[in-house]
């Protein structure tokens, strides 16, 4: 520090050096933390894989070689009996309709319950503002229950068939859609509601006439997405005895070789239905939310 007349000029390079070293220090620290997180994550992944592998009936590396066996057996048998494929498709078509019906009704019923629940749990719209947290917790629990839990219990009480699956999926759907609906409804304009209440409309009239028209496109879009998910859920629940395509699939599979043509027909129907409704719903969803506040 020889230049006494300009202390700042001398201090500046020093400050910059400090800043730089401080920045580098921070960057190093950040990189260290990032690296540590990554290491922990990789360790978790690898050890998790080893645990899962050791607790599995068949090992990963042995099984990997056999992955293609079952599809190959199904495809080759289905190919040999390809003449029967159209007949099989026709035979299992009613089961597909049942699976789709389960998905459609449960989406419809779930969306209606979710609609009411979402209004009840949105601040500003709630019928009983003090009970908003209660309805939120109810929706959380409804969302948390896997469909299979309700379906299995109901199958015990009501016997097999589409109704247990319908109730189970509708229950979960109501909770899941209720949450999404409520997020949309939170952003709804309250002026129509105020206007309606000024002319003496009651709560349900305010909701139906004041809020629903604003949020309908988004609600419909979410419901369509849910319908896609519910088709898959309904097929899976069929597998545990709730009717529809999944049920037929389990039967066809338990018969083993010789019935693989039936299994193949069911695979094709399920695949086609899922892809078709994915396409339809994504097209309509795009149209519904175009320019809207998605």
């Amino acid at each position: 520090m020889t230049d006494i007349s300009h202390p700042a000029a001398a201090a500046a390079p020093q400050r910059i050096a400090d800043l730089q070293s401080g920045y580098m220090e921070l960057a190093r620290k950040k990189r260290l933390y990032g690296g540590l997180t990554l290491v922990v994550f990789v360790l978790l992944l690898v050890s998790g894989f080893m645990v899962a592998d050791s607790r599995n009936a068949g090992g990963f590396w042995d099984g990997l070689a056999n992955v293609g066996d079952y599809p190959a057996a199904v495809i080759s048998e289905a190919w040999e009996k390809r003449a029967e494929l159209p007949a099989n498709l026709v035979k299992f078509f009613p089961a597909l309709v049942e699976t789709l019906n389960i998905a459609a009704v449960s989406t419809l019923v779930g969306a209606m319950i979710g609609l009411v629940l979402s209004f009840l749990s949105t601040r500003g719209l709630a019928r009983w503002p003090r009970l908003v947290p209660l309805f939120r917790r109810i929706m959380d629990i409804m969302r948390a229950v896997p469909e299979i839990v309700i379906a299995l219990v109901l199958i015990f009480m009501l016997g097999g068939g589409p109704v247990p699956a319908m109730i189970a999926i509708a229950f979960h759907t109501a909770g899941a859609l209720g949450k999404l609906f409520s997020e949309v409804a939170e952003n709804a304009d309250l002026k129509p509601v105020d206007g309606l209440s000024s002319v003496g409309a009651n709560w349900s009239q305010r909701m139906i006439l004041g809020v629903v028209p604003q949020v309908a496109p988004n609600f419909l879009s979410y419901s369509l997405l849910r319908f896609e998910i519910n088709i898959r859920a309904s097929a899976i629940l069929g597998f545990v005895g709730a009717g529809g395509l999944g049920y037929e699939l389990r039967n066809a599979m338990s018969w083993g070789p010789g019935q693989f043509d039936a299994a193949a027909a069911i695979f094709i129907l399920l695949f086609a239905a899922i892809v078709l409704f994915d396409q339809i719903s994504s097209r309509y969803r795009n149209r519904l939310t175009e320019g809207g506040h998605a």
């Binding site: 599995n56 009704v105 109704v163 899922i274």
Partner: protein, 449 residues
């Protein structure tokens, strides 16, 4: 133009506007009544297609009652073997819940040769020698039963009340206090209690019936082991509720979701670059990649589960792989969409400093997409915990397997209730965890899905 024509022109326009409004109203009215009508018609169709009217006959109300009462209560069996005359006491009638030799419930007492079972509220069952049984029912009288050459003889006469089912070979008496069943081989008395008995310790554990304070601060109950260590061990290896197995099963389910979700993300990320327009100049590669994503998503998780369980057998790995494959398709689609929406300006800025392509990706692209991708991954992690429960029920692994097994036995409803509560708590915990991680890693500024 005169005033008159102008007025008539306005009138025309007003008229046409009115017509248009009328038409709009008509359409709205049609829609407002038509849509509910269609929904109603569909529900009516479903009512018949699903045979909901026939449901009343098919529904097993007795099953529902068993389930409802069993899930929060337990019964203790007092069983007399008619061949040996021995009397055994067991909770839920299971070997694991058996009272050890010389131990029995305090509502059972001896009066000479007779064993007296007090069912409460004045209901008393006396188990007499020579396989005779007496049951005092308040307000009804005493029911007597004994054997006469292999046939059961009672004092009930020909028309017993409907809560008694009496025959030569089997007599069943069901009251509010309990239940007595007499068959050729044994006499069984059930007494019901609320609660989940033996949840902490089974009867053979020295810690059974001891309070928390007694275990932690009290005398040493087992000479060989310290209290806390012994109690923890006996609780963990409780043969009735199998806490260690249940904990493992929950762990397996979460493991399936974890491996499946993050494995899928790791597989999908590089593939998503191939499917994104900005990073993959070859149209054919892009198109092919997208069709692969669509195919993997369209072949449902159910089918993947079936195919994989053939190759890998039941277990958590199969479930994890099924989730991994299904979600690779979903993630591939979502990630490639996110990559296409990357802002060009940041990449330009980075390249203006002389960054090489790899550095452009690292500092221009990755920081933009990571929050979006992480948010999607974490959202799927939570929902996959639920899927893992379902897939576990199909492939045989995790809490899903325990749950289906418990339901299939059709009697361990208290265990079913326990598992259901655990599953709900597990999913809610994962929901909370994924939300917390999302807020922690992303700072909450990104859109929540």
């Amino acid at each position: 133009m005169t005033d008159a024509t102008m007025i008539s022109g306005t009138g025309d326009r007003l008229g046409s506007a009115k017509d248009a409004a009328d038409r709009l109203f008509q359409r709205k009215r049609l829609f407002n009544f038509g849509l509910p009508a269609i929904v109603l018609a569909y529900l009516v169709y479903i009512f018949f297609a699903f045979d909901i009217a026939g449901l009343a006959q098919r529904a097993r109300l007795d099953n529902a009652v068993t389930l409802a009462s069993d899930s929060w209560s337990y019964k203790t069996h007092v069983t007399r073997d008619h061949r040996s005359g021995d009397i055994a006491y067991a909770i839920e009638g299971e070997r694991k819940g058996m009272y050890p030799e010389g131990m029995r419930p305090d509502w059972v007492s001896d009066a000479g040769d007779t064993t007296v079972v007090d069912l409460g509220d004045g209901h008393v069952v006396r188990i007499l020698p020579e396989n005779r049984t007496e049951y005092d029912v308040p307000g009804f009288g005493t029911i007597e039963a004994h054997f006469d050459g292999g046939r059961i003889v009672t004092n009930l006469g020909d028309t017993p009340p409907d809560w008694i089912n009496a025959g030569d070979r089997r007599v069943a008496i069901t009251t509010d206090a309990g239940r007595v069943t007499i068959t050729r081989s044994k006499t069984e008395v059930f007494r019901y209690f609320p609660g989940w008995e033996l949840f902490w310790f089974t009867l053979d554990s020295p810690y059974y019936g001891k309070s928390f304070a007694q275990i932690v601060f009290g005398e040493q109950w087992d000479p060989d082991r310290g209290n806390i260590e012994g109690a923890a061990n006996d609780f963990w290896h409780n043969p009735m509720w199998r806490h260690s197995d249940v904990a493992w099963a929950i762990g397996e389910t979460i493991l399936m979701a974890f491996l499946g979700t993050f494995g899928a993300a790791l597989v999908a990320l590089p593939l998503a670059f191939l499917a994104a327009k900005r990073f993959s100049p070859l149209m054919a590669v892009r198109f092919g990649m997208r069709r692969i994503f669509d195919f993997v998503r369209g072949v449902d998780g159910l089918i993947w589960t079936i195919v994989l369980s053939r190759a890998f057998g039941p277990g958590p790995l199969t479930g994890a792989l099924a989730i991994l494959i299904t979600d690779t398709g979903t993630f591939g689609k979502l990630f490639s969409e996110a990559l296409e929406n990357v802002d060009e300006k940041q990449i330009e800025g980075v390249s203006s400093t002389g960054a090489k392509p790899l550095q452009r990706y690292r500092f221009g692209v990755i920081p933009q997409v990571v929050p979006v991708l992480l948010s999607q991954i974490l959202y799927f992690f939570e929902s996959n915990t639920r899927s893992a429960t379902i897939i576990g029920a199909i492939t045989g692994g995790g809490i899903g397997l325990l749950l289906t097994q418990a339901i299939q036995t059709q009697k361990d409803w208290e265990e079913v209730a326990y598992y259901i509560i655990l599953v709900i708590l597990m999913v809610m915990a994962m929901d909370w965890l994924s939300g917390w991680l999302r807020a922690k890693l992303i700072g909450g500024s990104e859109d929540k899905h």
